[in-house]
């Protein structure tokens, strides 16, 4: 298990903490070696992650439009005020993004847990069940989104006719948002289930039996025994999915292109960068999305407290 490996590594490092014994020559040499071994990875990370982030922050304080290369200039926080004062576009997109994130992740968590339990408990055909569940996750999002789009288009699709209304559901805001959420849930529930399955296998069978002997109901065993033990796995699953859902792009890009006010912040950002070629405003918006995702991660770690991976080591 990945989490276990991380924890082991953490313990290994903390075991070598200075203070109790003076650092030996050998320990120092090992630490040097460790840094040298890490260096290439750190350099690559700096190159592919740190540099673009810093560059985006740098661009976000400029008027920099590819179409007007001669008019490049520093504009302070103008780009940020432009974005944050745009109720009809930025805050609208932000609201839709939060809605899609909250609803889809909530449904995925419940469904994913159910699927995980089924996968965990399945006695025969385990391999087949696990593989079958993973199929939607294995399909390329864009391809899946296209099949949803056709399915919901009157004339070509089998789903459009199921609704009572005769018009195209993808051309109405709330119906379109519901379809986007459905596509997201269908696509990523297996991922959620897989992460939760890993958590489920952490729950010791004896603990559940002991609870059973003590007279705990099935619900109590689930809520009071399994869930607390699984907390780190749930946190990881929720964190990954929330961050992914907040940056939703491909499903919306194919399903509605952001029409009927169904655009997410990533779609809006894409429009600033690739349609308007406005690097200044676009970078400022990426920075804001980056801050939002950072805030989500922070909130989860804080909210889950001790259950967050790595936390138990400090206590």
């Amino acid at each position: 298990m990945k989490l276990g490996a991380v924890a082991d590594a953490g313990q290994a490092i903390s075991a070598g903490r200075p203070g109790r014994r003076p650092v030996t020559e050998r320990a120092r040499a090992e630490r040097r070696l460790a840094w040298m071994l890490c260096a290439p990875a750190v350099a690559v990370m700096a190159l592919v992650a740190v540099y673009p982030i810093v560059y985006a922050i740098y661009l976000s304080f400029q008027r920099y439009d590819l179409r007007f290369p001669d008019d490049k200039s520093w504009v302070g926080i103008d780009n940020y005020t432009t974005i944050l004062s745009s109720t009809d576009l930025w805050w609208q997109a932000f609201g839709i993004t939060v809605l899609i994130t909250v609803v889809s992740v909530a449904i995925e968590l419940v469904l994913g847990m159910a699927v995980a339990i089924v996968m965990h408990r399945a006695i025969f055909g385990r391999g087949v069940i696990r593989t079958a569940v993973l199929v939607p996750y294995g399909i390329v999002t864009v391809a899946a989104a296209f099949s949803w789009q056709y399915a919901w288009t009157p004339g070509t699709g089998y789903l459009a006719g199921l609704l009572l209304s005769t018009s195209a559901p993808l051309t109405h805001q709330w119906q379109a948002v519901a379809i986007i959420i459905l596509a997201e849930v269908w696509k990523t529930t297996p991922f959620m289930a897989l992460l939760l399955l890993a958590g489920l296998s952490l729950v010791p069978e004896e603990l559940l039996r002991a609870a059973k002997v003590d007279g705990a109901t099935a619900w109590q065993r689930f809520w009071s025994v399994m869930v607390p033990v699984m907390k780190p796995a749930i946190l990881v699953a929720l964190l990954f999915r929330t961050l992914d859902a907040f940056r939703i792009f491909d499903n919306i890009y194919i399903l509605t292109q952001g029409s009927q006010n169904t655009r997410s912040v990533s779609i809006l950002n894409y429009d600033q960068l690739f349609t308007a070629l406005n690097l200044g405003v676009g970078s400022a918006m990426s920075v804001l999305i980056f801050i939002a995702t950072g805030f989500i991660a922070f909130a989860y770690i804080k909210g889950f407290g001790a259950a967050a991976p790595g936390q138990e080591l400090k206590q």
Binding site: D65, R67, T275, A276
Partner: protein, 493 residues
């Protein structure tokens, strides 16, 4: 994106088949004195030169390069070859490295007209260049993005670019395309429709060469409308009267939130005597004529003449409504004519056309022009050859071929009097008259943002009024100054 000139016409006209032609096969002496046969051929009209030994080779009967050509085409190609040979230094372009490859980025053209002209121009270049077509995505948005991404990275493999009429200012200001040298620019401008030259010009320099064009006409039902309307007011009144009689009466126009709506607004503003932005693209110039345009949209959208789904209508939806027999009028590109012929013969026999209605009685109407301009990439390593190739690609013969095979209206005025073109386009006169007075979409590098702001602010059409002018002005001003957010293009789906 409106179905502009890139939209192929489903026409069944093909060029006439020519018998075999003579070709001159010649060996070229390379620097080292060794004679190498590189299989170059020279078209018929160079027979004389071949026989006289001007081309060191022997004459034989051969087959032309796949393209059925008329005598005129052959002659044109020969002329082009001659001109190119002169330009490329007496045709000695064939060095040991062979002809240079020119990448031509162009929208997908399904009739094969571009493949033919690329092949014939390559051949006529006498080994100076070989044009390789690089097909762009279907949607205009995707085409622009692909080229922009490459150009922003200084890609030297973009030699010839097929630009939508609205992109020249953007690509020119960004330094992505090369202005035409004065002498060549003069040649391009001569005989080319003035409005198309306008779309290709930025900061008083010609940055691209008009390649093909398109514009909208008013299509109407002869059985319902004996005398076509001259103005918008008349048209709305006629449609309202038809509605009262319970007859098909819709006026079909593009009112969805996308560029086609901007095209409609631009036509109305220009026909009312105004302009959306100044000629240099730096100022918003919306005035009382824009108010007139907004009032016209308001009048249509709130009259019995309006199709209830106006707010979702793009070119193809309007075409289908007309073909379904629900409309009396339709403002659309000429592709609707062969389409109706194939789909609905009953409607087709009553289908007639005339020029677009005016906003101000007695004033001419200025319909928005569409089309493709060809430019030379700023980072291309073969600019001279690219300029030569573009001139060949837009030769009268190739323009005719594009019109006959691909249904693309030409930009050369002379071609409109050609019987072959008139046969394909029975409405050629109305198109030509419209093009002579056509208007250009807002000329600014920020056109993409300006257009998005216009269609966004004026949606849905039913709520449009002259009061929107202030908001519209502010948003366009923001767009020009790269301020504000753009709403994105929602027509891609």
């Amino acid at each position: 994106m409106p179905l502009g000139p890139g939209h192929p016409l489903p026409l069944d006209v093909v060029g006439d088949i020519e018998p075999d032609v003579w070709v001159c096969e010649h060996a070229v002496t390379l620097g080292g004195g060794a004679a190498a046969h590189i299989g170059r051929t020279t078209p018929l009209s160079d027979q004389g030169r071949c026989l006289r030994g001007e081309f060191p080779g022997k004459l034989r009967r051969g087959v032309s390069t796949g393209t059925p050509r008329s005598r005129g085409v052959r002659f044109g190609i020969a002329l082009a070859a001659l001109a190119l040979a002169t330009a490329a230094g007496c045709g000695n372009a064939a060095s040991s490295s062979g002809p240079v490859t020119l990448n031509w980025y162009i929208f997908p053209e399904f009739s094969g007209a571009f493949v033919k002209s690329a092949a014939s121009c390559s051949q006529a270049s006498n080994g100076a260049y070989q044009i390789k077509i690089q097909t762009l995505p279907n949607a205009a948005d995707g085409q622009r993005q692909q080229m922009v991404r490459r150009l922003a990275a200084n890609d030297s493999s973009l030699d010839i670019l097929g630009l939508d009429v609205t992109w020249t200012p953007e690509f020119a200001e960004a330094g992505w395309i090369t202005p035409w040298p004065q002498d060549l620019a003069q040649k391009v401008e001569d005989g080319t429709l003035q409005s198309m030259v306008d779309t290709a010009t930025w900061n008083h320099r010609l940055y691209s060469a008009p390649f093909n064009t398109n514009t909208q006409l008013l299509w109407y039902r002869k059985d319902l409308v004996p005398n076509p309307p001259k103005t918008w007011a008349q048209m709305i009144a006629m449609a309202t009267a038809l509605a009262k009689q319970g007859k098909p009466h819709y006026i079909e126009i593009q009112g969805a939130q996308y560029e086609g709506y901007t095209v409609w607004f631009n036509t109305l503003v220009n026909s009312a005597g105004g302009q959306i932005v100044s000629d240099d693209g730096r100022r918003v110039t919306l005035n009382h004529s824009a108010a007139m345009a907004l009032n016209t949209i308001h009048a249509l959208a709130n009259s019995p003449a309006v199709d209830p789904s106006l707010a979702n209508q793009m070119e193809d939806q309007t075409r289908l409504q007309f073909e379904a027999g629900r409309a009396a009028f339709e403002l659309n590109y000429p592709y609707v004519y062969p389409s109706a012929k194939a789909d609905v013969p009953d409607i087709f026999k009553n289908m007639a056309w005339t020029v677009y209605p005016t906003v101000k009685p007695g004033e001419p109407t200025h319909v928005t022009i569409g089309g493709i301009d060809l430019a030379v990439g700023a980072f291309s390593k073969h600019k001279q050859q690219a300029f030569d190739a573009i001139q060949c690609l837009r030769s009268p013969q190739n323009e005719i071929q594009n019109a006959v095979l691909g249904g693309l209206p030409p930009v050369l005025e002379s071609v409109y009097s050609d019987p072959k073109f008139q046969k394909v386009y029975p409405m050629w006169k109305a198109i030509f008259d419209t093009l002579k007075q056509a208007s250009v979409r807002p000329k600014t590098p920020a056109y993409q943002s300006v257009s998005l702001q216009i269609s966004y602010t004026l949606s849905p059409p039913s709520s449009v009024s002259a009061k929107d002018l202030g908001t519209l002005r502010g948003r366009i001003e923001d767009a020009i100054n790269s301020k504000g957010l753009v709403p994105g293009d929602c027509s891609r789906r």
